[in-house]
Every structure is written in structure tokens, then in C-alpha cells.
């Protein structure tokens, strides 16, 4: 029988052929959480009476959310998680300064194609870009996985997004996934697996693919699957079991013309409120943020630096750059990208989630406007309830920082 890639991964794991809609108890190959959700994971384990987790070598904790801690309470809670990591003898514990969990876990090669991965963070779907099944859950679910090595789930149907053509210059995979979010909506993929495919996806880098899969949850999806290839293996430093969907297994499919796509932004309030950038050009921007698990990788910094080189951030705008990992930070430093940002007047912050979730390192004030490479523009997400966030590509964020208003990056690349 024809099966989707995600059905094949789960079938391989549970040891029998499963199809979409079935509830299964599924073994989990790898699990992770961060300093934020880690606190509640430990609470749940304690209440469950679990002293030793089942497989400490298949579990990672990465401190990224409150890094460095912004309050005494945040530091106190982190100390609790750190103590737990030591007690459990976790070899894959990464204290603050290493990066964002969704970046660090694949960078370290903890996962491989064909695996089933669960993380206590909604953007765990990012790892679907490595040809594996990954999804986000809450802390209690993760504690159950740590105690038993498995969890329940409903095998998802797959909605395949065929991305035809190749992205043009200054149009990134962020623009592409925003366009897809516009089409699918904030809940159009609920309980489904998204599968990104087509020439544009095959041609793009592994980092760009991670940006696509990262946004799957913003459409309600469980994961954002992308078939593994040599780029995947090069990023991870390892291969695994490669699965792909049989043509007859996909019952729902949409097509997107990536070749004719132009830069776009998600306007405030909803990630699906996506418009061509030209329709909102000129909106004043108080803060430009380049970073996050969506767009804080080396190529994102590189594309932004191409625009910022020899230019200045507008005097009415502040720009914050936060690399997604220490490895990204170090490479950007070696290659001179950080000099370009600093000379342009941008600030470069400590690796981690940065201002994405509106608690530190660039919280925006009443009625202020941010343009951000992150993934959420909900009401009050980055600060005051009256503030607003436009989600955009690294190129658009850089161009907008220079002009102090939403600006089409193609103006700078002619």
C-alpha cells in the first residue's frame, strides 16, 4: 500500500504498518527541552515519582529562553534544571551560551533522518527538515517520554506543498513559508504533517529548509517534513534511514510558484496576515530583530550583512542581531559579519532566543513597531499589548533597519 514518508517513519518505529488517523503508542528516539519548559518537566517527573529517566543519552537540555537570566527568579529556576541535569548524568546538557535548542540539537548531530523526535517546545517541528518526524509537546508529555521512552499520538495525514521554480535573489525561504502560511491559514494544517517539496526546496540550503519547517506549527501542523538528501547529511554529520512519500499516498496537495514570489511580510496580529511587502512599504520601524530559531543561522546573518555593509542603521531605529548558536556566532565573527553589523550601528546579543518572546534583550514599548525574522506576531508577543510585529526575511529586516521603515531589500541589491 502507498504510504507517506511520515507514515513510514512511524511504522518503522512501532514495528507495524500504520496509516493516518490511527492512534499509536510510539517509541521516541530523541527528546529535548529548554530552560523554560525544563522546570515543568522536572516538576512532572517528581510528581510521577521518577528518580532516574529511562535513557539519559537520548535526551538533551539546551538553555536558550532566559539567556542570560533576566531576573533572580529565572536564574533560580535555571539552577534547578542544571542540578537535575547533573543528577541524571546528562551528557547532552548545554548550559547557556551554546545556542537555541532547535539549532544546537541538529548541529551536534544528535538526530538523524528517519528518527522520531519530541521536544518540549512548539518549534520542535523545525527538525522535520532533516527527513525525520519531530513535533512539539508540553512539559508533562515530555516527562512521560523520559519516564517510559514512548508516547501516544495520532498518525497525521500529510498535506504536501509543492514549491515549483527557484527563488529569485533577495527572496528567501522565509518569504516562501510566509506565502504558504497565507494560503493555508493559522489552522489549515492542524493535526496534519506538512511536507515541503519541489524544486525550490530541493535547491535551497539545509538552513533555509529549517526556516520552512520551523513555521509549520504556525499553520497548526505537527511537523514540517522535508526529504533528507546530501545537504541534510552534511549538516548533521551523519545519515540515517531515508524515507519519502509514495506518489499515491498524498491525498492533499497545494502548489506554490516559488519562482515568481516577491518579498512579503506577515502583518501584525496573525502569522497568516501576509501581504506583498510593496503594499506596506514605508511603515515606520522602531526595532529590527535578526535572529531566532527561524532565521538566526549563518546564511541569514550573511544575507543581512550584504545589505548592511557600508551602510548605517537609521537613527530612529534600533537593530538587534542574535546568532542562533555559538557556532554561528563564531563563524560570523571569523568572517567579519559582526564587524559589519557593529559598524552599521546594530547591537549583537548573546546567542539564544533573544527578544522573540518579549521578555528581554529588546522588549518593545507602547505603540512601537518591530520588524522581525522570528515566527510569531501575536498581540503583545514582543512587548506591550499596543505594540506590533511584522514578520519578514533577514534581507527585509536589514533593508528596513537601514531605511527606518519597511523596505524592499531588492532596492539594495541592484
Amino acid at each position: 500500500m502507498a504510504s507517506t514518508a511520515v507514515e513510514k517513519i512511524i511504522s518503522d518505529k512501532v514495528g507495524k504498518s500504520v496509516t493516518a488517523g490511527e492512534f499509536v503508542e510510539c517509541p521516541v528516539d530523541f527528546a529535548y527541552c529548554h530552560d523554560g519548559t525544563g522546570v515543568l518537566v522536572i516538576d512532572a517527573l517528581k510528581r510521577m515519582g521518577v528518580d532516574r529517566i529511562k535513557d539519559p543519552d537520548s535526551f538533551s537540555i539546551v538553555f536558550d529562553h532566559s539567556v542570560p537570566p533576566y531576573s533572580d527568579q529565572a536564574a533560580t529556576l535555571q539552577a534547578r534544571v542544571r542540578r537535575f541535569a547533573r543528577e541524571q548524568g546528562l551528557k547532552k546538557f548545554h548550559d547557556m551560551g551554546e545556542g537555541i535548542c532547535h539549532q544546537v540539537v541538529p548541529e551536534k548531530g544528535y538526530v538523524a533522518p528517519g528518527m522520531v523526535v519530541f521536544g518540549a517546545d512548539s518549534h520542535t517541528c523545525t527538525l522535520g527538515s532533516f527527513g525525520l518526524f519531530s513535533t512539539g509537546v508540553g512539559a508533562t508529555d515530555l516527562a512521560f517520554i523520559l519516564a517510559t521512552g514512548k508516547t501516544w499520538m495520532k498518525v497525521p495525514e500529510t498535506l504536501r506543498v509543492e514549491c515549483n521554480g527557484v527563488l529569485s535573489e533577495a527572496v528567501s525561504s522565509k518569504d516562501l513559508v510566509l506565502e504558504i502560511t497565507r494560503i493555508i491559514g493559522t489552522d489549515g494544517a492542524t493535526y496534519k504533517a506538512l511536507e515541503f517539496a519541489g524544486e525550490a526546496v530541493r535547491e535551497m540550503s539545509q538552513s533555509s529548509r529549517m526556516t520552512m519547517s520551523n513555521m509549520a506549527v504556525e499553520m497548526g501542523a505537527k511537523t514540517g517534513f522535508i526529504e533528507a538528501d546530501e545537504k541534510t547529511v552534511a549538516f548533521l554529520g551523519r545519515d540515517g534511514k531515508r524515507f519519502s512519500s509514495d506518489p499515491g499516498a498524498i491525498r492533499e496537495r497545494i502548489e506554490v510558484d516559488a519562482g515568481s514570489l516577491e518579498p512579503c511580510v506577515a502583518c501584525p496580529g496573525s502569522v497568516a496576515n501576509v501581504k506583498p511587502l510593496r503594499e506596506v512599504e514605508g511603515v515606520h520601524v522602531d526595532q529590527a530583530f535578526l535572529g531566532s530559531c527561524t532565521n538566526g543561522r549563518y546564511e541569514d546573518l550573511y544575507e543581512a550583512a550584504r545589505i548592511l555593509r557600508g551602510r548605517k542603521v537609521h537613527e530612529d531605529t534600533r537593530m538587534i542581531v542574535v546568532p542562533a548558536s555559538k557556532a554561528v556566532h563564531m563563524k560570523a565573527q571569523r568572517d567579519g559579519l559582526l564587524d559589519i553589523f557593529l559598524e552599521a550601528g546594530a547591537m549583537v546579543g548573546v546567542t539564544g532566543c533573544g527578544p522573540c518572546l518579549g521578555v528581554h534583550m529588546g522588549v518593545i514599548g507602547e505603540n512601537e513597531v518591530a520588524v522581525s525574522t522570528s515566527n510569531r506576531n501575536f498581540v503583545g508577543r514582543m512587548g506591550a499589548r499596543s505594540s506590533s510585529v511584522y514578520l519578514a526575511s533577514p534581507q527585509t529586516v536589514a533593508a528596513s533597519a537601514v531605511e527606518g521603515k519597511l523596505t524592499d531589500p531588492r532596492r539594495f541589491l541592484r
Binding site: Q73, T76, W152, T190, G220, V379, G380
Partner: protein, 164 residues
Amino acid sequence: MIRGRVWKFGNDIDTDVIIPAKYLRSVDQSVWPKHVLEGVDPEFSSKVKPGDIIVAGKNFGCGSSREQAALAIKWAGVAAVVAETFARIFFRNAINNGLPLIEAKGISGMVEEGDVIEIDLDSGLVKTPRGEVKSAPLPPFLQDILRSGGLVEYYKAHVKRDQK
């Protein structure tokens, strides 16, 4: 049977408005219900009474996996959440923490704020002053988790016992 007064919300109520991130890193967990749904209605936590029911549109609980969203609602005394649809992580978090929820298509158009409605989790029936909405009940093992009071209690009662 759950019977309670309705507080009504719209579509796409995300976990950032249910409990803004600035309250998450708190050693004192009792702060969460004090800020529940603050991003939509800053007065909500002072208005909601134990036993009340939240009725919402589609995609309730979308966004972050923060379990504090389900906990804030539960600890504010909300007896159940009825929505057109739920985002999947919130759905799991609610069940895992013993917060009853039910997906009832068409519910938004049938209730007004302040109505008293009745929910039967076993049958999936929701009774409103303007008629009934029948929805699929939760699968039996999810009802078991809910009845146990959440996944931690379920683990202690079932999984841990079996391991011994």
C-alpha cells in the same frame, strides 16, 4: 456532567495572550491564574468564577507549547473549555493536566456570554439555551487520562504499577 456560566472568546486565541511570556519564569506558580487571558481581557482573572466555562472559536491555544496556558485556565477555576477547534499542543496539555475540553463545531454561534451550558464528556453532548451540539467524545484512553486527573496521575495509577 459539567454545568457552568460561559465566557466567550474568538478565533486563534494563542498561548501568548492566555499567559504572556513575562509571567512564565516565576518561582511562585500562583501568579499564572492571576494573569490568565490578560492579553485579550486584562480584567478576566478578576471576573471569572470557579466552575465557569470558556467557549471559543477555532484554533484555541495556538502558538507556544507553554503548559502554563492550560494550568492558568485550570487554576483560575475554569471547569472546561469548549471550542470549535483546538491547537494540538494545547489540546494535549489540557488533557495532561486534567482540564476538560471538548471540540464542538458550531458552538460559537449558539452561545452568548453569560449563558449557562451543560457538557457531558462521556457522550460529547453540549446543551445550550439555544439547542444542543453533538460532538465526538474523546477517545477512551484520553478520557482515562482526564478522569485520572492528568497524565502524572495516570502514570502513577497505570504505567508505574504495571512496571512493578
